[in-house]
């Protein structure tokens, strides 16, 4: 190529390409909001954090002009949620929407967030875990070589085929001086984590001697002032989709956008939390053998009625 020709090529190339080009590293997206929240059977008000997906690192301090609704599938009732701007301990602020209603086991809920007048909605769909039927088996007490007591009790949770998220176990005592009940939480996990998932039910195996020893160590007054008025257990069960990739909840894994997300046109996760409890009594002879004091039903018929007339699993309250 002769030199003038090369110059000409260069000039043409320059003329064609010398305009500046701007670039925006933030892509356009239909994903508008990130939602983190739970629909929890244990609460009468539901909460969901709503974060508008923004093109800048810092969040603008402004009101979210959105409509947030939820609807139980098959029901005509639509809840419209209310925005609240909450200031966190670190000084940042966030939008937490709330709605006063209870969710029910086994029900499906649709959640939708959209701007007024916009058809594009960020939605989520979740199902509260199905109702669990507990079946409390008779406790078994055995003396080994006449000196060592072995006491166990099995609770079968029908319809549960996966490990629950959490188990809370407690013992209920009647305090005569206060004329009231006290629930003492057992801090060690029952043998539930070691339980096996069987066909159709999930089993918790209690070590009543170990529970007794724990109570004796931490709450000895219950053995002098209180009367054993019942045992209880609450299982917290997460919805079936609430399973972390790799089996472990880590920020690095779940922080990847789209990982563990049931939000359409957005990110995040709205989980459903089922809470299922059982309460029961063990036989007086077993309780006495374990070292507890038991109520004389004849002496305190009204107290006994409260305790003994309650059907198993009907007392859905846990006190720490």
């Amino acid at each position: 190529m002769r030199f003038p020709s090369l110059i000409l090529v260069l000039l043409v190339a320059v003329a064609l390409t010398s305009c500046d080009e701007s670039i925006n590293p933030i892509l356009e997206t239909d994903r508008q909001y990130t939602l983190f929240g739970t629909l929890d059977m244990a609460t009468d008000t539901q909460f969901v954090r709503v974060i508008a997906i923004r093109p800048t690192l810092t969040a603008p301090d402004q009101k979210l002009d959105i409509i947030f609704t939820s609807q139980q599938a098959g029901s005509d009732i639509i809840h419209t949620w209310t925005d609240s701007i909450h200031t966190f301990e670190d000084g940042s602020a966030g939008h937490i929407f709330y709605a006063p209603f209870r969710v029910h086991a086994g029900k499906y809920y649709n959640i939708a967030v959209h701007k007024p007048g916009s058809e594009l909605a960020t939605t989520a769909f979740t199902q509260v875990p199905n109702h669990l039927e507990p079946s409390v088996q008779q406790e078994k007490l055995t003396w080994v070589q006449t000196t060592t007591l072995v006491a166990t009790q099995r609770i079968l949770w029908w319809s549960l085929d996966e490990d629950p998220y959490d188990i809370v176990q407690w013992y209920r005592f009647f305090i005569f001086d206060d004329y009231g009940f006290v629930d003492i939480r057992i801090n060690h996990q029952p043998a539930s984590k070691a339980s096996d998932t069987h066909e159709g039910f999930w089993e918790t195996r209690l070590d009543l001697v170990r529970d007794r020893d724990s109570l004796l160590a931490n709450h000895p007054e219950m053995f002098t002032r209180g009367f054993l008025a019942g045992l209880g257990m609450t299982l917290t069960v997460l919805d079936k989709d609430w399973t972390p990739p790799g089996g472990v909840f880590t920020a690095e894994a779940l922080g990847q956008p789209g990982t563990l997300s049931n939000v359409v046109n957005g990110f995040g996760y709205i989980g459903a939390v089922g809470r299922f409890s059982a309460e029961w009594l063990i036989q007086d002879t077993s309780a006495i053998t374990l070292g507890y004091r038991v109520l004389d039903s004849e002496a305190f018929p009204d107290v006994a009625a409260q305790v003994w007339n309650a059907p198993v699993g009907s007392l859905e309250q846990v006190r720490e």
């Binding site: 190339a13 983190f36 990847q256």
Partner: protein, 756 residues
């Protein structure tokens, strides 16, 4: 074992050629005693048959396997008066024959006897199996904002070479990371050979003799790096008279002085360059230029006898600056300041034993790099690497083939204080020893008038006793020449025990931590390349070359959605494939070339968390240096003392990571109290490096005129325009602030150089 091998080699060489003679010696420039490379030395007998060889970068030539008798010697070199002589060689004689050529020769007429052209791999389209030789004259044609020119400016005109930009000092060669390039200066390792300002390397062109750039497929002589080799040899000082040059320009002022310490025997060469950005460039450019750099070079060369030479070379370079400073406050802040210092010193002893046809080279060197980030006195991270090396390279000259072999020992110290920045890298000081050797030979399978086929097989052995690792690396290079056609190919296996880790997710962070391979698996590369070259006319050369590299055991920065200052290292493998086409024109007053390069670099990284997002099996991406298309064009016009140069560069956009936006992340590991969880700010990344920055292009022009005063004094005036049409080329964009940092704007420059 080694002794036995040595004895065998020497015995073979001695016996096989006991009856034939050997002619060897050094060719120098009569004016200054510089070695002349590429001088054709031919022995012709009465019947017209000839034997010949060409001088190497030391000016050494050797013709072996010469039957005893009388010969006519012809030595020629373009621009020099040919030497003619008559020699008589006896059986078994090894005749030393050192001579000097005087400048001033016209067209050399040796008929069809041309053993080797000036340098058969020199020239923009003279690439041979990945090797291209760069001469100072080539560098001078690249327009730059100063008069001294620089190797760095030339390297970025090579197809397949990607620079981080005008700033950063990072060079990627055919897909290889900067720390996978081995830069040797007179055999001494230079860890960080480029200054922060991309126009300059740490090695000024004024001290260069010649540079061999192997973009891949390098032979068994080289090892320790897995991508490329830049083998630089520096000039010796003038052995006849004192001379020097001083230049001043907006970025840099330079001075060079050389001369004889003992006439014709010992010379020195020293140069120094210092930035003058504050006094010069900052006043004419409306951009922050918070850079400071300098380099100093000293070489003493001695011809200690007819058969021995020794040189001592030292280099020091310093860089300090802040990449990405948009405001004066950012430029003045030391928080993001990067700093590096190279120190290198070495000695080279070259011996031609009188009784055996052998050249022996012995090298001893020390080199180090200090790299830090943050305030100079209290950096937030720092890394230091040192290498003490001793090696010997032996070449046996024979009539049929030359055999080269060598052995080396290296002692490395690696020392980092990373303060947890690289999460998987220990801050402990590491001492690693390495020993090894190589052997390679050049076999002329076919050697006829118009057809030659040379094969260069080799094997390299490396051992790291303290790590319990040993590597065997076979190498092969081959060149077939048929008339105006040349076909070349190369292949090899390469390992790299010491790696430089950098967080490539942040284009503004060029801090490099030197360490042993962090995963325990040593990075490995397979190279395969092949090319074709044709020279249909003496003024035209055309070449094409394709290449493939398979990379394993790479270490890359993890991918995370959370902006933070720490980096976890993840394993990766990769491939590089591509090709380039080059056309070179040299009509005398006009020289030009245009080349096009295509390259595709793909990494597959393994990071469990990302695989949850994008699927199992590793995530495939194009790393940020994956420039797919490149075009470089150069035109240089020379009229008397006037020179006009223009260079245009085009590069398609580099990969970068786009995002959908930002939000806060709440770890949903169970029922939460959302009033107590502010959440962690998160980047909603799209697929890693799925976006492309805008294309890059730039036109640089320069005009020089030299006023000559007497025989050896000249004053050269430069006027240049870098980025002549003021293209706003993007360097990088800060995802978090959406601020963009552009490459340097139009830089008008004038400069002066005084040579004496």
């Amino acid at each position: 074992m080694r002794r036995i091998l040595l004895l065998l080699l020497f015995a073979c060489a001695a016996n096989a050629y006991a009856q034939n003679a050997v002619l060897r010696g050094y060719v120098t420039d009569e004016a200054d005693g510089q070695p002349l490379q590429g001088v054709n030395v031919v022995l012709r007998d009465d019947g017209g048959a000839f034997l010949g060889g060409a001088s190497d970068r030391d000016g050494l030539f050797a013709i072996s396997g010469i039957p005893p008798g009388q010969y006519y010697l012809e030595a020629s070199y373009i621009g020099f008066v040919p030497l003619l002589d008559t020699l008589t060689l006896a059986a078994g004689e090894i005749l030393p024959y050192n001579f000097a050529l005087a400048a001033g020769g016209e067209e050399t007429d040796l008929g069809d006897v041309m053993v080797e052209e000036e340098r058969e791999t020199a020239g923009a389209a003279a690439v041979t199996a990945g090797l291209q030789t760069i001469r100072p004259a080539d560098i001078q044609m690249i327009p730059s904002p100063d008069l001294s020119g620089d190797l760095a400016s030339y390297l970025v005109t090579l197809p397949g070479v990607v620079a981080s930009g005008d700033q950063g000092g990072q060079l990627f060669i055919r897909g290889g990371e900067p720390t996978q390039n081995q830069v040797l200066m007179d055999g001494i390792l230079i860890y960080q050979p480029f200054h922060l300002i991309g126009f300059y390397s740490a090695i000024p062109s004024a001290i260069l003799n010649v540079s061999d750039v192997y973009a891949g497929g390098f032979g068994a002589k080289y090892g320790g790096r897995m991508s490329s080799v830049i083998d630089i040899s520096t000039r010796n000082g003038n052995k006849r008279r004192f001379s020097g040059e001083f230049s001043a320009a907006p970025f840099i002022s330079a001075g060079l002085l050389e001369g004889p310490l003992i006439r014709d025997r010992v010379s020195f060469l020293m140069s120094g360059r210092f930035d003058v950005i504050d006094q010069g460039a900052s006043r004419i450019i409306d951009s922050q230029l918070p850079y400071s750099f300098n380099d100093q070079f000293v070489k003493v060369h001695a011809i200690t006898s007819e058969n021995t030479q020794v040189s001592i070379t030292g280099l020091r370079s310093f860089d300090r600056g802040v990449l990405g400073a948009l405001t004066q406050a950012e430029a003045d802040s030391t928080t993001n300041q990067v700093l590096w210092k190279n120190n290198a010193i070495g000695s080279r002893f070259v011996l031609l034993p009188t009784r055996i046809p052998v050249q022996a080279e012995m090298l001893v060197s020390f080199s180090s790099i200090n790299n830090s980030y943050g305030p100079e006195l209290k950096p937030t991270r720092s890394s230091r690497a040192e290498e003490i090396s001793a090696s010997a390279n032996i070449t046996h000259f024979s009539g049929y083939t030359d055999i080269s072999w060598g052995m080396y020992f290296k002692f490395n110290r690696l020392d980092s204080e990373l303060f947890g920045i690289f999460q998987d890298i220990s801050d402990e000081t590491e001492f690693v020893s390495e020993a090894g050797g190589y052997i390679q030979t050049e076999i002329p399978v076919v050697d006829e008038d118009n057809l030659s086929f040379d094969v260069e097989p080799g094997i390299r052995l490396s051992s790291f006793p303290s790590k319990g690792r040993n590597f065997i690396e076979p190498r092969l290079r081959a060149v077939l020449t048929y008339g105006i056609h040349r076909v070349s190919a190369a292949a090899g296996i390469y390992h790299q025990e010491f790696v430089g880790l950098a967080d490539r997710r942040d284009a503004g962070d060029v801090f490099t931590a030197w360490t042993s391979s962090p995963s325990g698996e040593v990075p490995r590369a397979y190279h395969l390349l092949g090319g074709y070259q044709i020279r249909p006319a003496h003024w035209l050369r055309v070449a094409v070359e394709g290449f493939y590299k398979d990379l394993a055991n790479l270490s890359v920065a993890e991918w995370t959605s959370f902006p933070r200052f720490t980096v976890a290292i993840e394993p990766a493998e990769g491939t590089v494939r591509g090709g380039d086409a080059r056309v070179e024109v040299d009509t005398g007053p006009f020289y030009g070339f245009i080349n096009y390069g295509y390259s595709k670099v793909v990494y597959v990284a393994h990071q469990t968390e990302v695989e949850y997002w994008f699927g199992p099996g590793g995530y495939e991406y194009s790393p940020p240096h994956d420039r797919r298309h490149q075009v470089n064009a150069l035109g240089s016009l020379h009229f008397g003392n006037f020179t006009l140069n223009a260079r245009w560069q085009y590069g398609s956009g580099l990969p970068f990571s786009e995002a959908l936006g930002f939000d806060e992340f709440v770890l949903m590991d169970g029922p939460k109290d959302f009033f107590a969880e502010p959440g962690q700010t998160r980047v909603l990344y799209s697929y890693p490096y799925s976006g492309r920055l805008p294309d890059y292009h730039r036109l640089d022009i320069s005009a020089e005129y030299a006023f000559e005063f007497g025989r050896s004094t000249a004053l050269t005036i430069l006027a240049s325009g870098t980025n002549a049409y003021d293209r706003t080329n993007l360097f990088y964009i800060d995802l978090f602030t959406l601020e963009r940092l552009d490459q340097l704007p139009f830089i008008p420059a004038v400069g002066l150089k005084l040579e004496f």
